[in-house]
C-alpha cells in the first residue's frame, strides 16, 4: 500500500526524523492558515498524489508570502497532474502540503528496502540525492553505500557510522545523520514497510539534516497489525474498478488492451496475458479470482471485468484442481445471465470434472466459444476480435 508524502512525513517525524514545518490543506483557506503559521518567508506548496515527478508536472510551487500560498493552492487543488508516473490521464489533486522552504546546501539520498536475495533489510545512502536512485544505481553504483541489517542484532551504531563516514561526512554531521538513519529504520520495521525513502534528505545551510520528501510503501500482509496505517489508504488514488475488486478479495489490474481476462491463480493469469499477446492481441486487464475461486468470486470478477468499456472479447481461462470445473461453469453461466453480455466469450476449462463443466457451458443456451487448451483459447480470442 502506498501513502502520501505528508503521511509519510508525519510518521517519520514521530520517529525523530526532522521534517520541514508545515501541514496538509484541502482548501485555500486551510493553506493560508498553515502558511501564516510559517510566516513571511519562502513557502513551498506541493500537490499530494501517489506519484513522483510532481515538480516537473507543475504540482510544486514556491512562493514568498502566505497570501501567495493561498493563491497557488487554489490553482493546484482540482488540477489534473500529469507526470511520468501517472500515465497520460493524470491524477486529480485533492490535497496540498504547505511547508517552510529550506536553504539547501546539499541533497542526499537515504532509503531502506527489503533485499529479497539476502532476506533482510538493506539501508542505502548516497550523496547523489534528489534524482531517482535507480538511475544512480545504473549509472554510478559506486556512489551508493549499502548496509545490510541482520534482524536479530538489529541496526547498530556501526552501521550508521559506516554510512556517514562512507559518504565522506564531517564527524558532527555523522552524529546527526545517525539519528535520521535510526529513525527511518525503526519506522520501516515497526510499520511493516517494504520501502521507506527520504529523497532528497537535505543538508541545510544551517548544517541540519531534513527530510524534504518522503515515500513509504507498506506491506499489505502486515496491515492487519497496523489499524492506524490501514486507515491512511486513499481510495481516490486507486482506479475505481480496482477498489471495487479489492472489496471481493479479487486481484484486478486495469490495462490498455481489449481482451478481458478472468483466470484463477496469479501465475496463470500473467501467462494468459502473455499468450494473448503472443497470439496477436492485447489484454485489457489482469484478473486473478484465486487458485481456489468460488462461484461468487467468479461472478463478481466477471462483472468487474465487464465494466471496462474497452473490453471487446472475454477470455476465461480456468484450471480447476481441488476446485471443480462444473462448479466454475455454473458460476460463469450465472454471471453471464446476470450481466447482459453482447460480446464473444471464449472459455477454456481444464482439470477436475472438465467434461461436466463443458457440458454445462454447451447446454446453457448462452453464446460461449469453448476452447480446448490455452493456445486454442488465445487463437479463438484473436479470431473473435477479427470478426468484429
Amino acid at each position: 500500500m502506498k501513502i502520501h508524502e505528508y503521511q509519510a512525513k508525519e510518521i517519520l517525524k514521530s520517529y525523530g526524523v526532522p521534517v520541514p514545518k508545515g501541514g496538509v490543506a484541502e482548501t485555500p483557506e486551510e493553506a493560508l492558515k498553515i502558511a501564516e503559521g510559517i510566516g513571511e518567508k519562502r513557502i513551498v506548496v506541493k500537490a499530494q498524489i501517489h506519484a513522483g515527478g510532481r515538480g516537473k508536472g507543475g504540482g510544486v510551487k514556491i512562493v514568498n508570502h502566505p497570501k501567495d500560498a493561498e493563491k497557488v493552492t487554489k490553482e493546484i487543488i482540482g488540477m489534473t497532474l500529469v507526470t511520468h508516473q501517472t500515465g497520460p490521464s493524470g491524477r486529480l489533486v485533492r490535497k496540498v502540503l504547505i511547508e517552510e522552504g529550506m536553504e539547501i546546501q546539499e541533497e542526499l539520498y537515504l532509503g531502506v528496502v527489503i533485499d529479497r536475495s539476502k532476506a533482510c533489510p538493506v539501508i542505502m545512502a548516497s550523496r547523489e540525492g534528489g534524482v531517482e536512485i535507480e538511475k544512480v544505481a545504473a549509472e554510478s553504483p559506486e556512489k551508493i553505500i549499502k548496509e545490510w541489517v541482520e534482524p536479530s542484532a538489529g541496526l547498530r551504531a556501526f552501521h550508521a557510522n559506516k554510512i556517514g563516514y562512507g559518504l565522506g561526512l564531517e564527524p558532527a554531521q555523522v552524529g546527526k545523520m545517525r539519528n535520521v538513519i535510526f529513525g527511518l529504520y525503526k519506522a520501516f520495521c515497526e510499520k511493516d514497510c517494504l520501502l521507506a525513502e527520504i529523497n532528497p534528505l537535505v543538508l541545510t545551510q544551517g548544517g541540519e539534516f531534513m527530510a524534504l520528501d518522503a515515500k513509504m510503501n507498506l506491506d499489505d500482509n502486515g496491515l492487519f497489525r497496523h489499524k492506524e496505517i490501514a486507515a491512511l489508504r486513499d481510495l481516490n488514488e486507486e482506479a475505481p474498478l480496482e477498489v471495487e475488486a479489492s472489496k471481493y478479495n479479487l486481484n484486478y489490474i486495469k490495462l490498455d488492451g481489449n481482451v478481458g481476462c478472468m483466470v484463477n491463480g496469479a501465475g496463470l493469469a500473467m501467462a494468459t496475458m502473455d499468450i494473448i499477446k503472443v497470439a496477436g492481441a492485447e489484454p485489457a486487464n489482469f484478473l486473478d479470482v484465486g487458485g481456489g475461486a468460488t462461484v461468487e468470486m467468479v461472478k463478481n470478477g466477471f462483472k468487474i471485468l465487464m465494466s471496462d468499456p474497452g473490453v471487446k472479447v472475454v477470455f476465461i481461462n480456468i484450471f480447476g484442481g481441488i476446485l471443480r470445473c462444473d462448479t466454475l461453469a455454473k458460476g460463469v453461466t450465472e454471471a453471464v445471465r446476470e450481466v447482459k453480455v453482447n460480446i464473444p466469450i471464449v472459455v477454456r476449462l481444464e482439470g477436475t470434472n472438465v467434461e461436466e463443466g463443458r457440458r454445462i457451458l454447451n447446454e446453457s443456451g448462452l453464446n460461449f466459444t469453448v476452447a480446448i487448451g490455452m493456445k486454442d483459447g488465445a487463437e479463438k480470442v484473436v479470431e473473435a476480435l477479427r470478426r468484429q
Binding site: R116, A119, P151, M270, T272, D274
Partner: protein, 291 residues
C-alpha cells in the same frame, strides 16, 4: 527417484483442526501421503480420522517420528509455526499460508540458517513426488510418476504445465512450488542442485515470473553447475511496472525484475526459454529424445 519427499516421508499437519487443514489432510491421505500426526495447541489428545493431534510439533515428533510438516495456519501465526517446526527438528517444512508479513519471514529465514530445516514456501501449492507423497493443495491426479523435475513460483500455472506433460505421457519426479512471496525458503538455485544430483531426474522445468532476481541467480548457477537440460517459462512479459501481479513477490520495482531480463539471463546460460506457456509440454519432447 525424487527429491525431498517420498514414500518414507512422515508428515505432521500444523493447523489440522482448521477447515483448510482438515480438508487437505484428507486429500493428502487419499493420495497416499503418510500423515502421522496433527498439531493444534489446546487440542492435544483428539484425533482426526484416526490421526493423533498434539499440542506441539516436538510432542508430535517424539511420538510419531514425523520428519516433514505441512503448515495450514493463519498468516499472523504462520511464521511462528515455521520456527516451531524447525526447532522440533523437522527437516522439510512446507508452508502453504498466503499473506505472512514480509518482516516475519526475515526473522524466520535468519533462524533457519542455524538449522538443517528446509523450508518450502510460504504461499505455495506445496510439493509432490507423484505416486509417493503429496504435501500441499495441488490436485494429485493430474500428475504422473516420471523423470521431469519442476520448480515453480506459481500454483495453477504449474498445474497447467503438469497437465500438458502428463497428457503427453511424460511423468514428473518431483514438482516443487517455491512460493509467490518476496521472501521464501528454498529457491531455484537450491532445488536445481537437488535435481542435478537426483539420478532419476532427466530434465528440469523452471516456471518463473516477474520480480526479484531468483531467475537470474538460477541462470548463473546453471551455467556453472547444472548439466541436465533446463527449460524455462517466465510469466509476466506483459505485466506493467510497479504493480503487484497477485503474488506479493510479482512486481517490477525500479525497472528491475522484468520477464525480459530473466529470459535473456536464462537463454545466455543455455536454458531453453519458451515464450508460449501452452507449448512447454511440446518443447520438452525434443530435449528428452536428444539425451
Amino acid at each position: 527417484m525424487s527429491i525431498l519427499v517420498d514414500e518414507n516421508t512422515r508428515v505432521v499437519v500444523q493447523g489440522i483442526t482448521g477447515n483448510e487443514g482438515m480438508f487437505h489432510t484428507r486429500q493428502m491421505v487419499e493420495y497416499g501421503t503418510k500423515v502421522v500426526a496433527g498439531v493444534t495447541p489446546g487440542k492435544g489428545g483428539q484425533s482426526i480420522d484416526g490421526i493423533p493431534v498434539f499440542n506441539s510439533v516436538s510432542e508430535a515428533v517424539k511420538n510419531t517420528k514425523a520428519n516433514a510438516s505441512a503448515i495450514f495456519v493463519p498468516p499472523a501465526f504462520a511464521g511462528d509455526a515455521i520456527l516451531e517446526a524447525a526447532e522440533a527438528g523437522i527437516s522439510t517444512i512446507v508452508c502453504l499460508t498466503e499473506g505472512i508479513p514480509t518482516l516475519d519471514m526475515v526473522v524466520v529465514r535468519q533462524y533457519l540458517k542455524g538449522t538443517d530445516a528446509k523450508l518450502i514456501g510460504p504461499n505455495t501449492p506445496g510439493i509432490i513426488s507423484p505416486g509417493k507423497c503429496k504435501i500441499g493443495v495441488m490436485a494429485g491426479y493430474i500428475h504422473k510418476p516420471g523423470t521431469i523435475g519442476i520448480i515453480s513460483r506459481s500454483g495453477t500455472l504449474t498445474y497447467e504445465v503438469v497437465d500438458q506433460l502428463t497428457k503427453k505421457g511424460i511423468g514428473q519426479s518431483t514438482c516443487v512450488g517455491i512460493g509467490g512471496d518476496q521472501i521464501i525458503g528454498l529457491n531455484f538455485v537450491d532445488l536445481l542442485a537437488y535435481f542435478e544430483k537426483d539420478p532419476r531426474t532427466d530434465a528440469v522445468i523452471m516456471i518463473g515470473e516477474i520480480g526479484g532476481t531468483a531467475e537470474e541467480e538460477a541462470a548463473q548457477f546453471i551455467e556453472r553447475y547444472v548439466h541436465k537440460p533446463v527449460l524455462a517459462f517466465i510469466a509476466g512479459l506483459t505485466a506493467p511496472p510497479g504493480r503487484r501481479m497477485g503474488h506479493a513477490g510479482a512486481i517490477i520495482a525500479g525497472g528491475k525484475g522484468t520477464a525480459k531480463e530473466k529470459m535473456e539471463a536464462l537463454s545466455q546460460a543455455g536454458v531453453r526459454v519458451v515464450r508460449n506457456p501452452a507449448l512447454v509440454g511440446e518443447e520438452i519432447v525434443p530435449i528428452l529424445t536428444k539425451r
